[in-house]
């Protein structure tokens, strides 16, 4: 178990919780009920220019903070790659940020499995960002399984919004 302990020390939480980030996330969650992907500025009712460059808002609105997955899949789709490429460029430009990638699953699975599936999605997202030059040491991951849906409805369009990985900014530079 010694190897495991060493890793644990290396993974100590490196981000502080930020109330502004949480508030913004909550507003995104509400926007999600409109059943549309919320990468675009329009969903927030904000002009793209409203965000200060380098701010959390800039990241969320102009870059896109989340990617989506196919059912039971953890592979990064082409559209998701484009989003993650933008994230990596932005994070390279503003290197003070550490990030947490939150993995999520839709409700069409059992609780324990979905916790692991969300973790797998967060891990593959981390791996991709890392391959685009973001140091793995600056990326924390967490899975919420199916416990934090952003969209509520009965159909596939809705479930597809909940199968996501969200990059949350934290740490220095906020």
């Amino acid at each position: 178990m010694s190897r495991i302990h060493a890793q644990a020390a290396g993974r100590m939480q490196s981000i502080a919780r930020n109330p502004i980030m949480i508030a913004l996330f909550a507003s995104l969650a509400l926007a999600a009920c409109a059943k549309k992907p919320m990468n675009s500025a329009g969903d927030l009712g904000l002009g793209a220019n409203a965000a200060t460059p380098g701010s959390t808002q800039d990241f969320t609105v102009n870059v896109g903070d989340r990617i989506f997955f196919d059912t039971d899949s953890t592979s990064i789709r082409a559209d998701a790659q484009a989003t993650l490429d933008r994230q990596a460029q932005w994070l390279a430009k503003y290197p003070n940020y550490a990030i947490t990638v939150e993995g999520h699953a839709d409700e069409r699975g059992t609780r324990e499995y979905n916790l692991a599936l969300g973790a797998r999605r967060a891990a593959s997202t981390k791996e991709y960002l890392s391959s685009r030059g973001i140091p793995a040491s600056k990326i924390k991951t967490i899975s919420y399984g199916k416990e934090k849906p952003v969209a509520v409805c009965d159909d596939i369009s809705c479930w597809s919004q909940n199968r996501r990985a969200v990059t949350v900014l934290g740490g220095a530079g906020m």
């Binding site: 609780r111 599936l117 593959s124 934090k148 509520v152 009965d154």
Partner: protein
Amino acid sequence: MLKRNPFRFLIALATMVTLMIAPAHARVEININKGNVEPLPIAVTDFLQGELGQKISDVVAADLKRSGLFAPIAKTAFIEKITNPDAAPRFEDWKVINAQALVTGRVTQEGDGRLKAEFRLWDSFAGQQMAGQQFFTQPENWRRVAHIIADAIYEQITGEKGYFDTRIVYVAESGPKTARKRQLAIMDQDGANARGITNSNDIVLTPRFSPNKQEITYMSFEGNEPRVYLLQLETGQREVVGNFPGMTFAPRFSPDGQRVIMSLQQDGNANIYTMDLRSRTTTRLTSTAAIDTSPSYSPDGGQIVFESDRGGRQQLYVMSASGGEQNRISFGDGSYSTPVWSPRGDLIAFTKQSGGKFSIGVMKPDGSGERILTTGFHNEGPTWAPNGRVLMFFRQNSGAGGPQLYSIDLTGYNEQLVQTKGFASDPAWSPLLE
């Protein structure tokens, strides 16, 4: 946290006295192995005296009715009014209304303030007493006495242990789906005496009872570090289980209560570990590039069933409690998850996903004899009553609502909503209380 000990039931019991000799051959019996049993008509008369006696008899009748094995007869149909529960009833009066079994009883207050509850179970057609016992308890424990009496009746007639004097720990859910608050709660198996045992905004999931202590293991997202915890119900004391380098989840106790088995997530893979609660040593049991989770011990502690997606979809596997060779046991159409070994050892309950539906089913430990008990939009997470005859699980309907708890017996015919104040999920049945 905990205000008082939920297990402080002290039915100052032990004083369980057989009132009269049971007869050699009672005719009233139920064979619960037969499947879709015709419920046995039974008359549960009001215990003497007064309101409390009536309330106790109502709880006894409700327990028996929910089991699906008994059909309590409406009190309005009774002919004889019981005035002396010690004397033999007029059996003819009970045969006329087809009450094959009859329960009479009395509650009295002892000089020291304790409650004394006595009951007798009669076989109307044989014209003899089948059982008679008395119990002493504190007045606030009157529901427990009623459950113990219902268990005694169930055991006398079916020949198997009852499950009414038990509790359920579960996740109480409130608020909208996108901002759901979850706390651990505990209640009697019939939904009474529910109360919260955690109260924070951290997500808490999958509580499981210790087989022999007033303790649960569960998962909490406290501090944004999802990990498995132990919680002492008596003191409210909590501790993290082990020092693992990632998310730990899906915990359960071993049957001797000495170990917690769980999954550890590392990158994209989850593997199964145990921690010995005395030595605090951890042991890794699986090592796959897959999601191995929801481990559950066989009641003798010798084997473990778990789910894994190593073959593509989630399927059930069995291995020795010490690890080693892992054999797939589920081969039906669809995926299988959340396996739980029956306390009797004869069956494994599971959640099955197939054709867009979620079902609760059982199969033998070798994978044969699969039977689906209930199916629908979303049924998940079975837990066994301690006698291995009834399952509880949670059901989520489509849309914005929340999950609720249901019980179902092994015939699949007797499905019952378990009343909770709000939404509820992840039920775990306690052992029979002592």
